[in-house]
Subunit: 219 residues, 2 copies
């Protein structure tokens, strides 16, 4: 029987690419705000609990949810930082916390950060902050949960399909399908506590930078 993966945010640009890729050899359940197998609002812990109660048990959870406010250090308000934190960090931490009884032992959770957490550009201070916060949380959660589940985070660069026609300027760019490969690597691999950069999970250089990946992630 195929492993069961819950993709939260699985109707979005990255999420639907992840769901499509994982369907090759997983049973995929898509959760999203609408038009999904399960409807969930990840900013509500009540709604997250209801989602997990519906799925019962899964082998992996992938989260591709969360947004943060665009703006530079001199422009953003206290509320911008707080909203960004609640929307992207706190929501994904809740997905881990409340999923602990639902994810099968030996399973995994894979969150979404972003390259601005480590490679800043001018004008995105809150986005850099939340992505770095998630990287730090995943490293710590992996240590705390080492005997139970694996915890990793994918740190996408600018995804071409997200803003069609938008000039990415100096940002690194990848397709949604290439980005999805990094999530598949985290789900099917054996590593934990990793910040996975999709640029290092290339089709032509399988897993060169990813330690502990198993054969299924090497396609």
């Amino acid at each position: 029987m195929n492993p069961i993966v819950l993709v939260v945010g699985g109707t979005g640009t990255i999420g639907s690419a992840v769901a499509e890729r994982l369907r090759e050899d997983h049973t995929v359940i898509v959760a999203a705000r609408r038009n999904a197998d399960i409807v969930v609002n990840v900013t509500s812990t009540h709604s997250i609990r209801e989602m997990y109660a519906q799925v019962g048990s899964v082998d992996a959870v992938v989260s591709t949810v969360g947004s943060a406010v665009v703006g530079g250090t001199g422009e953003l308000t206290e509320d911008d930082y707080l909203q960004s934190f609640s929307n992207k960090v706190l929501a994904q931490i809740s997905l881990v916390r409340l999923g602990l009884g639902v994810i099968a032992p030996g399973g995994s959770v894979t969150l979404t950060g972003g390259v601005l957490g480590t490679e800043p550009h001018p004008g995105y201070a809150a986005i850099s902050m939340v992505n770095a916060a998630l990287d730090g949380f995943c490293r710590a959660a992996a240590v705390d949960l080492r005997s139970r589940i694996r915890v990793n985070i994918v740190s996408p660069v600018f995804v071409a399909e997200s803003f069609p026609g938008f000039d990415p300027g100096g940002f690194p760019v990848q397709s949604a399908a290439d980005t999805a490969r990094a999530y598949a690597s985290a789900v099917t691999g054996s590593f934990t506590g990793r910040v996975v950069d999709p640029r290092n999970v290339g089709a032509q250089r399988p897993d060169t930078d990813i330690t502990g990946g198993n054969a299924r992630s090497k396609r």
Copy 2:
């Protein structure tokens, strides 16, 4: 005339060591909740604004404030994460935001994170998260503010004097005085966007790992 440095949290274990070290060649103003040159509550933006109005203009701000909730990923509540974020991250971001008109051009701000942001131990998920968030914010703020002020963060290890008699277990440990050396390096150096690990700012190997430090940080 000596440069003026405002040390926020300057009555604490690290803060008082930083103030003592900087007094050698700076005019130091100490701000803290009580028993200080200026009384401030950093969880209140109103109080921070009042503090900056009192100092008028400074060459550097050092922050050694903020605490987060101890606990592992399976134990902490949503409120624990939110309180940790507000207390350590949001407060220090406010010190940067609201200090922009007060810190002289070419000046600096130096915040406080912690080694758990990059080197997690079991049982400290919120602390790892907030420290990593601050690292990410400082990297981004340094890019945003490059033409105006420098922004760095010191990432202390366990400070021996903070919890006398406490067994640090597997944690790396340094004295408050050795930790203070890293802050002095950030204040007197020329670098920006750096996460400064005090273990790399040793008395016997001046600035070997610190790029861009000037002669005064080489003592």
